[in-house]
Each structure stands twice: as structure tokens, then as C-alpha cells.
């Protein structure tokens, strides 16, 4: 195997220079990215919030329906408990009875009767 002398390129004469165009390009890219980001944020965030609120609303509506159902159940329970017939029976058991009309006294606003 014969090795031939090869002249390799050398960069010893190259002068490294700063490329002054990158800054505006970077700035423009960043600006564009920020603009796009802002746009995405402006469009996406409200939509995200709307979706989130929509789910909250569904949950709250279900909660309202459930509470209304419970309220109706409780109302019926209260009505059962305050039934005039039931109360009259309980009062009678405790020895109470309605007053005789002759026992009624009307108190007038002035204090007389």
C-alpha cells in the first residue's frame, strides 16, 4: 500500500467573523412566535375556560336538580309531620283540647279586650 502525500485544506487563513444578521432574524422569529403564542392564547384560553365552565355548569345543574329533589322530599316529610290531624291527635294525647268559643278573648290594639 503506497501512501500518497495529500494536501489537506487548512483554515488557518479563515477569519471567524460574527454574523450580524442573526439578531434581527432571531428577533423576528421570536416576535412571530410570541404573536402566534399570544394569538393561540387569546383564542385557546377562553375556549379552554368555556369548556371548563361548561363542565362546571353541567355539574352545578345536576347538583341543583339533586338539591331540588331533596327539597321536595323534605317538603313532603315536613307536610306529613305538620298534618293538622296528626297534631290534633298528639295534642289530645297530651291532654290539650281546643278552647271553647266562650273562653276566647279578643285583645284590641289599644290594649282593651
Amino acid at each position: 500500500m503506497i501512501e500518497l502525500p495529500i494536501e489537506r485544506p487548512s483554515n488557518q487563513f479563515l477569519v471567524r467573523e460574527r454574523d450580524h444578521r442573526w439578531l434581527p432574524a432571531l428577533a423576528a422569529t421570536l416576535m412571530l412566535a410570541m404573536l402566534l403564542g399570544s394569538l393561540l392564547f387569546l383564542v385557546g384560553w377562553p375556549r379552554l375556560q368555556a369548556t371548563s365552565i361548561h363542565y362546571d355548569l353541567i355539574r352545578l345543574r345536576a347538583q341543583v336538580e339533586e338539591l331540588e329533589r331533596q327539597h321536595r322530599e323534605l317538603e313532603v316529610t315536613v307536610e306529613r309531620a305538620r298534618s293538622p290531624e296528626l297534631l290534633a291527635r298528639r295534642a289530645q294525647r297530651l291532654g290539650l283540647q281546643p278552647p271553647d268559643p266562650s273562653q276566647l278573648r279578643v285583645v284590641l290594639p289599644g290594649g282593651g279586650s
Binding site: E75, V76, E79, S83, P84, E85, P101, L104
Partner: protein
């Protein structure tokens, strides 16, 4: 060769593609509707769930009927892997026997209602057993928190699939108003027919609420007193009406024996009747004040005229009509106060039959009151051309005609309020959301002038002060009223074992606020109104003044030089 093969294969492929394309056009365009329908039938099932039925409330705010949300448990039997195991687990939760649940599941139908009107908790417990096969469908249950209170007025409901429908009473009469509008659901299923979700596609509307004029506490007091009277005298039934004579509002409408609307099927249908409005009886002597009003209006009586009632009766057209008053001569006031049959027959005989009949009609007898209740009785007033020679006398004594307690209460209301026959009001208003429909109040007609009404009021006060109605007196209040003991028509005649005891009156004078009518049907131990109906009236009147907060009245001023209503004949 290769090229020819290629052309053949390409041609075949093109032809196949064309066929497929044509089929796609047929399925997607030409037969679109049919396939869409088939797909919907397979994947979706519409479900109509009735709106929550409106409430019925009393004027004092008690809920007489309400609806509460429940669930109906539907089971897809084809998706149940272990039906027997499911039946054993679900039975104790829904309160059925495992064998009964198994029978339902093995009935041969794919979709089975396991139970309806179950609480949400029960529904969820069953759903947990087989989530793929159990579907909870919104349902409702009609409840009556006060049980039997005003049950014949409120009525009851029945079921038609998931729909609750009024079967009797106001539930039936106002069914359309109470029902509301149904919600529409879509049950979406997958390819193996498992229900994926229940989606509401249209929201319904709850029914309108009804607010009644009834006072629940007064109603309870009336029913209590009627029950006590029925028990004491062994009566068949009893009715009571309390109404405000000034605007026709019905404050109580009691019918005993009643029933529990939550279990109406366990009671005889006879007890479903609202007797004060749906039954009519012979009114007996309670019509005497109306006959007196007719005689005074016709001018057939002389001032201070006395009627001879010494004979303990009177003969009319060959029939002996017995009188129970002490033999004496009575003035018109005395005839009414002591309820003299002979005196009243004499007075009625002076009236023209057509005028007499018109008077009875004017007071609303023989026609429906228009209270807004199903199957209201219109009563019976025979037309003049069918009267016998005895009819005028019989009608004057409250026989040969029938009236409902409500009709009689309205006639007495016209005496109490100065001559106006009111239109009764049972439903004050129907409300639901923002819509309100007020039931309008009005008078039906004027039946007498104020002066005549005052004169009749005076007679009726005398009945309670010194006549047959003394048992109806309420201490501290001026009460007016009239007793009535009527024989009931049985098999074409009247016998001596079927009576109706009446008391109709109002209080407190001079400005009555409540008209009360009590009718006790076929009491066994005693039948005289003075001892059966009058005490019951007094107790109801006492409850009325207490609950309506009516202040006691000073005693009635005695007219100077008042003449006796009767003169004993030695």
C-alpha cells in the same frame, strides 16, 4: 401477453369499483332515508317521560298532593349474564320475592320494568348489580302527605305506563293543568344493544300547581266532628260544607267516611264520592225559610198573621201530615222557629205553583252550582206539570225534591249576604312559573232584596235562640240556622227508618262570615236534626270561629215590645 393480462385485470378492477360505487350511491343517496331509519331503530330509542305533576295546596299552605321524583328500573334481559343471581340480589333491594323477580325476567320480553316509582337510592343499588343491563328511567310518584284529609276533594291518580293520570276528584278534573309537558329522552345503544347513555333531547315542564280555597285545619276539624257524629249515631255517612257567603269561597268540604288517596283501591268506591257536592238528599225543613221568603216576596201573608197549628197535623189531598210542634197559633217567625209542618203547608198553599217552583230554581236547586268538580249532583226539582195535589205541601216540607249540601249552603249564603246567590269557588288559582290564571269570582244572581234577606236572617236567629236549633248555639256568637229532618225516598215511597238529619246555618250575625251545612245520612240511634245535626254544627261552628279568628259578638238586641211567636190555645 403481459399487457393483455394487465388490461383484463385493470378492467375487472374498474368494473368492481364501479359496482361498489353504484352500491355506495344506492346506499348513501337513493336509499339514504331507509337505512337512516334502520340505523336509528337499532341504535336509538325514544322515551317520553311525563313532567312532574303540579301540587295541590290548601289556602292555608298545606300540601294536599305533591309529586316526588323517583326512578323506574328497566332491565335488558338479554344482557343479563346471570339472571337468577341478579334476581336473588335485586329482590331484597326492591322489596320483592326472588321468585317474583325471576318470573319477570323470564317473561320472554327483552326489556322488562323491574319496578317503577323506586327511590333513587334503590335504583342506584340495583344499577350497581348489573350496570350494563339496568337502566334507570326518570319517574315520579304522587304522594298525599296529609293522607285522608280532603281526599274526596283532591281525588287520586292512576298510572298509564310512566304517566300519572287523574282518576277522581280535582286530580281528574284538572288533569290537563296538573300534568305539565313531558320530557323527551333518547336512549342510545351500541352494536350489541347495550344502552350507552340516556340523553335528554327536550326538556318538559312541570304541571301547574292548584291552590284551593279550602282551609286544611278547618277541613280537619270538620272531618273529625263528622266522624264523631257518624260513630255516635251509627250513621251511614255524613257531609259538611263551610263557605264564605261574601265571595263563595268553599272553606271546607267534608265527606265521611273517606279514604286514603295513596291507597284508594283498598276502600269501597262509595267512599271516593264527594258527598256534599255529588250526592243529593231530601232537604226536609231546611227549605222552610226559602218558602217563607217566597211567601213574603209574593205578598201573600198579612203582617202579624197567625197560623193555627193545634191539630198536631194537617190533611192535604187525603194524606195526613204530622206536626211535632206544641199545639198553638204561630206567627210566620214561630212557624220557622219551631218548624211547624202544618203552618208551613198553610203558607205554601197560598203560593202559585209556578212561582213556588221558580223560587226553588232561583235558589239554585235543580241545577249544578258550577263549582268545577266532576259528576256534580244537580238535585231534583220536579217540573210543575208533574206535581201531584200533595206536591206543593211536600215541597214546602223539603220532600219530593233533593238538593246537595253544597246547593243548600249556597242558598243559605244568599240569605246571609243580603240576597246574592254566590258562585262557589273551590280552586283559587292555578300557578306555575310566571303564568297565573286566577279563577274569577262572581255572583250567579240576586235572589232576594236586602230587606227580605234581613227578615229571614232574623227568623233563623230565632230558630237557634228559642226554636228547634238551640243545640246549635255557640256561646258568645249570634248564630242563625235551621234544622231539617227528612225522610229518604226508598223504593218509590218514604219509610220511617231512613232519615237525613240536616242543620244549615251561618255565623256570626249581623255580618256572617261562614255558612255551615251539616247532613247526617241515615243515623240509627236518633234521627232528629236537633239532636244529631245541630250539635255537630255547633262543634264545627266553634272550630270555624276559632280558626277564622272571628271575634265574639255582643248578644242580639231584643226588639222593644217583641211579640211572642206563638200563642198557646187552651
Amino acid at each position: 401477453m403481459n399487457r393483455r393480462r394487465l388490461v383484463v385485470v385493470a378492467g375487472l378492477l374498474a368494473a368492481a369499483e364501479l359496482v361498489l360505487g353504484l352500491r355506495v350511491v344506492q346506499v348513501m343517496v337513493l336509499d339514504h332515508d331507509r337505512f337512516d331509519r334502520l340505523a336509528r331503530r337499532q341504535q336509538q330509542r325514544g322515551l317520553t317521560v311525563p313532567g312532574l305533576r303540579g301540587e295541590i295546596r290548601s289556602a292555608d299552605g298545606y300540601v294536599l298532593a305533591a309529586s316526588v321524583e323517583r326512578v323506574a328500573i328497566e332491565v335488558d334481559t338479554q344482557l343479563l349474564s346471570y339472571p337468577d343471581l341478579f334476581a336473588r340480589a335485586a329482590a331484597p333491594i326492591v322489596g320483592l320475592k326472588p321468585a317474583a323477580v325471576s318470573r319477570r325476567l323470564r317473561g320472554g320480553r327483552r326489556s322488562v320494568w323491574l319496578v317503577q316509582r323506586a327511590t333513587r337510592e334503590v335504583g342506584l343499588a340495583v344499577h350497581r348489580l348489573a350496570p350494563g343491563a339496568v337502566v334507570l328511567v326518570p319517574d315520579s310518584e304522587r304522594v298525599y302527605p296529609l293522607h285522608g284529609l280532603a281526599a274526596p276533594v283532591v281525588g287520586f291518580t292512576g298510572r298509564e305506563a310512566l304517566r300519572t293520570v287523574g282518576r277522581a276528584g280535582l286530580e281528574h278534573f284538572y288533569d290537563a293543568l296538573l300534568s305539565g309537558e313531558p320530557s323527551r329522552y333518547l336512549a342510545v345503544r351500541d352494536a350489541v344493544q347495550r344502552q350507552i347513555r340516556l340523553q335528554r333531547v327536550r326538556s318538559g315542564r312541570a304541571g301547574f300547581d292548584l291552590e284551593l280555597t279550602l282551609n286544611a285545619c278547618l277541613q280537619a276539624a270538620c272531618e273529625r266532628q263528622l266522624r264523631a257524629t257518624v260513630k255516635e249515631f251509627g250513621a251511614r255517612s255524613a257531609s259538611a260544607v263551610v263557605l264564605d257567603p261574601n265571595d263563595g269561597r268553599v272553606l271546607a268540604l267534608a265527606s265521611v267516611p273517606g279514604f286514603d288517596p295513596g291507597a284508594a283501591g283498598r276502600t269501597s268506591p262509595k267512599n271516593w264520592r264527594l258527598r256534599p257536592a255529588q250526592d243529593a238528599y231530601e232537604p226536609g225543613s231546611t227549605v222552610k225559610p226559602l218558602v217563607a221568603a217566597a211567601a213574603l216576596a209574593a205578598g201573600v201573608l198579612r203582617s202579624g198573621e197567625r197560623f193555627e197549628c193545634r191539630g198536631r197535623g194537617i190533611t192535604v189531598a187525603g194524606h195526613w201530615i204530622r206536626d211535632h210542634v206544641e199545639p198553638a197559633e204561630y206567627t210566620l217567625d214561630g212557624v220557622i222557629a219551631h218548624s211547624s209542618n202544618a203552618g208551613m203547608v198553610m203558607i205554601a198553599s197560598r203560593l202559585q205553583p209556578r212561582f213556588f217552583a221558580r223560587t226553588l230554581s232561583a235558589f239554585g236547586f235543580g241545577e249544578r252550582t258550577g263549582i268545577g268538580f266532576p259528576a256534580e249532583a244537580d238535585g231534583l226539582v220536579p217540573p210543575v206539570d208533574r206535581w201531584s195535589q200533595l206536591s206543593e205541601a211536600s215541597l214546602a216540607l223539603g220532600q219530593e225534591l233533593t238538593v246537595s249540601p253544597l246547593q243548600l249552603a249556597l242558598a243559605y249564603a244568599s240569605i246571609a249576604n243580603g240576597g246574592w246567590l254566590p258562585r262557589p269557588k273551590l280552586v283559587l288559582r292555578a300557578t306555575g312559573g310566571r303564568e297565573t290564571s286566577a279563577m274569577e269570582a262572581n255572583w250567579r244572581r240576586r235572589v232576594m232584596d236586602e230587606k227580605l234577606a234581613a227578615r229571614i236572617r232574623g227568623m233563623l236567629e230565632l230558630v237557634v235562640r228559642e226554636g228547634t236549633g238551640q243545640e246549635a248555639a255557640v256561646p258568645g256568637y249570634r248564630v242563625a240556622g235551621k234544622t231539617g229532618t227528612a225522610q229518604r225516598a226508598r223504593d218509590g215511597g218514604f219509610d220511617h227508618s231512613h232519615y237525613v238529619s240536616w242543620f244549615a246555618g251561618f255565623l256570626p250575625l249581623p255580618h256572617p262570615r261562614a255558612v255551615i251545612v251539616v247532613a247526617v245520612v241515615e243515623p240509627k240511634k236518633d234521627y232528629w236534626a236537633s239532636s244529631v245535626a245541630a250539635p255537630c254544627f255547633r262543634r264545627i261552628a266553634a272550630a270555624t270561629v276559632r280558626l277564622l279568628k272571628l271575634p265574639p259578638q255582643p248578644p242580639a238586641p231584643q226588639a222593644r215590645g217583641a211579640v211572642s211567636t206563638r200563642e198557646k190555645i187552651s
